[in-house]
Point group: C2
Chain length 494, copies 2
């Protein structure tokens, strides 16, 4: 190619490019779950599809994730496990759990077509065992195909009929690699090509404002790609970009990152440089390394010994409640009886940081005000004796008075002694970003007047999805693939 100096992220005029190095109909930028879904649909619709991936091959952050897919409305797995679900019920739960301020238009579609989306995954070769994992956890170490993600916890169990919707590919623990293996295979089988080690840097724009391709870099070389129909940005979020975090989501500064290390917001920046609008750039997912199996049997308290949420909610929700809203450090408090009742496979090697024969002693070890934990325990026990939790309505199966000796577990120590930094060790907190480009339900990227930017689409965490200020596992892979598919079809139809 031949062209002048290229700006860092600002768009490049098409007329400055004399000849393109590569051409295709639909150019997908980023080969994670959203990119794979978009590429599959666009290629299936007959478009000549090319996927650019800055890493050595497909996968992205999706491949390193747990692989849970939030699906429901009456899937085959739900039915086989004896659960009766429907789209309205699923919508009611997600509207509350992903809220406040979930995107109801996107969410409505996502729920209405969730069974079809589930079957789409099966059609791509993913299998889901028809067994339920029925214990509170971040991630089952089993191959169960279905898990609860807080649907049975207050207040959600009063808003929607409790039904589990965490769908897990048939593999132990982390399943993202398997999901991406199948989706990348499917995209390639449908005809999509992939240029790996190729990082998109700028959008190319026609004289009439239409996105016509991208400028990319590969091993120090500058390459130009022309997209005859559209460009789809599926470049992920921006948790790996410290400057963007400082500008938009400083709550994650200094904490662990749930990503493959390449979520630097490049796609978001390329599009906003062209005048694309964003939504909810401050919203994040947060994981606190506190173990649900301990918490449900004990209590989660802040630095002042106050409880602040029912400990049996989806773990991402107690994490956000703690990190965003409470003074830390946070402590999982449990008594000897409760600790001994935890099944060994659910304990993940977690050990208490402090143990004490009296509440006063534990309070002192934790640096709390005299009487603070004692007051919290006294009211908790008073109600727990009658299997009641009028503060936060933890399910009664977990409610009984907590009696010394007591232990305190410190999330800053990570789950287990051998844990790596990425598991939250250090601060005990890791997360990723949920805000991004403002898109229609078909993935069209909107400008600041609410009008689509011609030729430009986005899906996955480069865009703002179904989420309000809440997050539930499986909704990021879920909406990334669901709206990635829609973007792929719309782009192919341009």
């Amino acid at each position: 190619m031949s062209m002048g100096a290229v700006p860092p992220v600002e768009p490049v005029p098409a007329d400055s490019i004399t000849a393109f190095d590569h051409e295709c109909d639909v150019l997908v930028v980023g080969f994670g779950c959203a990119g794979a879904a978009a590429a599959f649909e666009a290629a299936t619709a007959g478009a000549d599809v090319l996927v650019l991936e800055r890493a050595g091959g497909p996968g992205g952050s999706s491949a390193q994730s747990g692989g849970e897919l939030y699906l429901g409305g009456g899937t085959a797995v739900q039915r086989a496990c004896g659960f009766d679900d429907d789209p309205d019920n699923m919508f009611a739960f997600l509207k509350a759990a992903l809220g406040p301020h979930a995107d109801e238009e996107k969410l409505r579609l996502y729920c209405d077509e969730s069974v079809e989306h589930f079957e789409w995954f099966r059609g791509r070769g993913l299998t889901f065992n028809e067994t339920l994992h029925d214990a509170p956890t971040w991630m089952p170490l089993t191959t169960d195909g279905l898990m609860w993600l807080g649907e049975n916890a207050w207040p959600y169990n009063t808003i929607a009929r409790p039904v589990p919707r965490g769908h897990r590919p048939a593999t132990e623990a982390f399943g993202g690699w398997l999901l991406m293996e199948k989706l990348a295979e499917a995209a390639k089988a449908a005809g999509a090509a992939c240029h790996a080690d190729t990082r998109a840097a700028n959008l190319i724009v026609d004289g009439d404002g239409r996105v016509a391709g991208v400028v990319a870099r590969r091993y120090g070389e500058t390459l130009t790609y022309r997209a005859r129909r559209a460009v789809i940005l599926t470049t992920g979020g921006f948790v790996d970009n410290e400057e963007m975090l400082a500008d938009h989501a400083p709550v994650l500064l200094g904490h662990g990152k749930v990503s493959d290390g390449l979520d630097d917001g490049g796609g978001i920046r390329m599009a906003t440089a062209l005048g694309a609008a964003t939504r909810r750039m401050s919203v994040v997912e947060i994981a606190l390394t506190a173990l649900p199996a301990i918490l449900v049997r004990g209590m989660l308290v802040n630095a002042l010994g106050q409880r602040f949420i029912n400990e049996d909610v989806y773990p991402g929700l107690f994490s956000v409640a703690a990190v965003r809203h409470q003074p830390g450090p946070y402590w999982a408090i449990i008594d000897e009886k409760g600790y001994e009742e935890i099944p060994p496979e659910d304990l993940w090697g977690v050990r208490p940081r402090f143990v004490a024969e009296t509440v006063a002693e534990l309070e002192e070890s934790l640096g709390m005000p005299v009487g603070a934990l004692e007051a919290t325990l006294a009211v908790y026990n008073r109600h727990a004796e009658r299997a009641s939790d009028p503060y936060f309505h933890k399910d009664q199966r977990w409610l009984r008075p907590l009696r010394p000796p007591l232990a305190a577990v410190d999330p800053q120590e990570g789950f287990a002694p051998g844990d790596a930094e990425g598991a939250g060790k250090g601060t005990g907190v890791a997360g990723f970003t949920l805000g991004g480009l403002h898109t229609t339900v078909d993935g069209a990227v909107l400008n600041h007047s609410g009008r689509p930017i011609p030729g430009l689409y986005a899906a996955g965490r480069a865009g703002a999805g179904i989420h309000g200020e809440g997050y539930i596992s499986g909704t990021s892979l879920g909406d990334g693939t669901f709206f990635g598919r829609r973007a792929g079809r719309a782009a192919a139809g341009e």
Copy 2:
């Protein structure tokens, strides 16, 4: 003028305009405090300055504000009242109180040059009485020229030497009108012209990407303005734009708005449509209509009877702590003795919603879990007997055990029976936005590569200022005028 169809907020190419209706050197868009300060300095530097104001005359939201200016470092008023301040001390307080994540580069300049900025206000004809208002309040009804804004509250009193820095123009209660009267006079006296009833709609951009003016509307007519040197956006925040609130700061949806009704984010949208970057769009100021005079003598609790902050902090900080982070409704709890000790002029007509002879009775009236308020009061009183508050370190002059009969005041009722909606009645909450365009210390608006957009400046709430996630009264008028002045000088020098 003659031109084709004008897009809602996207930029208009200069070559589509055959003749401009008006020309000037520096075009200031918005005649609030930042616009007045920018216009004054640009005109004083010799530029031909024109200010566009969409309302019938100058003032904006600044004129409807309290008029407090956060200034210090050793002003004449501070010295006359017997306080020893310096820029480092001021910086230490603001870095903590406006944090986390305050803009330290802007804040450093703001503190270093605060005495000069104070003298600049005096030079524009504002007077400040050399008397201190020494009681906790949202706003003194007196003409005292100096007030505390939480500098003497924990943890700030451990971070910086406590010195009051709330500077008040010499008028009773709301002083924003007086501030704007003087600043608008000064700008006009320096030579700045004003076109009122004129709403800027689009930026005009040269072929080389330089901002060259604006397209505006007046009474249905479309007008073009050419700016030979630069455009300065001082259009305010976006609290009056429901769609922008939903996209960026949904916490304020449904609440009262602290504005003149015209803070619709127009300037932010015009600039982002051109590829300008933003910062901290989710950050807001919040005012809860809870009376400091009651709170310091009692306690502020959430819906579950839990305390969460020392009640003697700057009221904006307890408001954010409540509305952003705690389950509502919130209650001001006070005993009979405390209520009777409040000077009548500090009570503002506020009355309890519930009174009760016992804690149990009050708890029930407030719908709290049995024992919840009792537990909080027991620990509070246990420590208050020794004038100690190990939870939140409220100053010991306010600490004594609270004994029944007790009263609960409901912020949702507003301050006084006659209060209008704008004072927070309804939800008890009102606020404005603090995020905006990403600017240098000289007001240059940056693009997504961190480079200035030629010819474009911003100040006031159209830009992101000194604030992190915290807010202190007087820092918005303060940084709006301070960085407005710098933008005016830089624009005149282009």
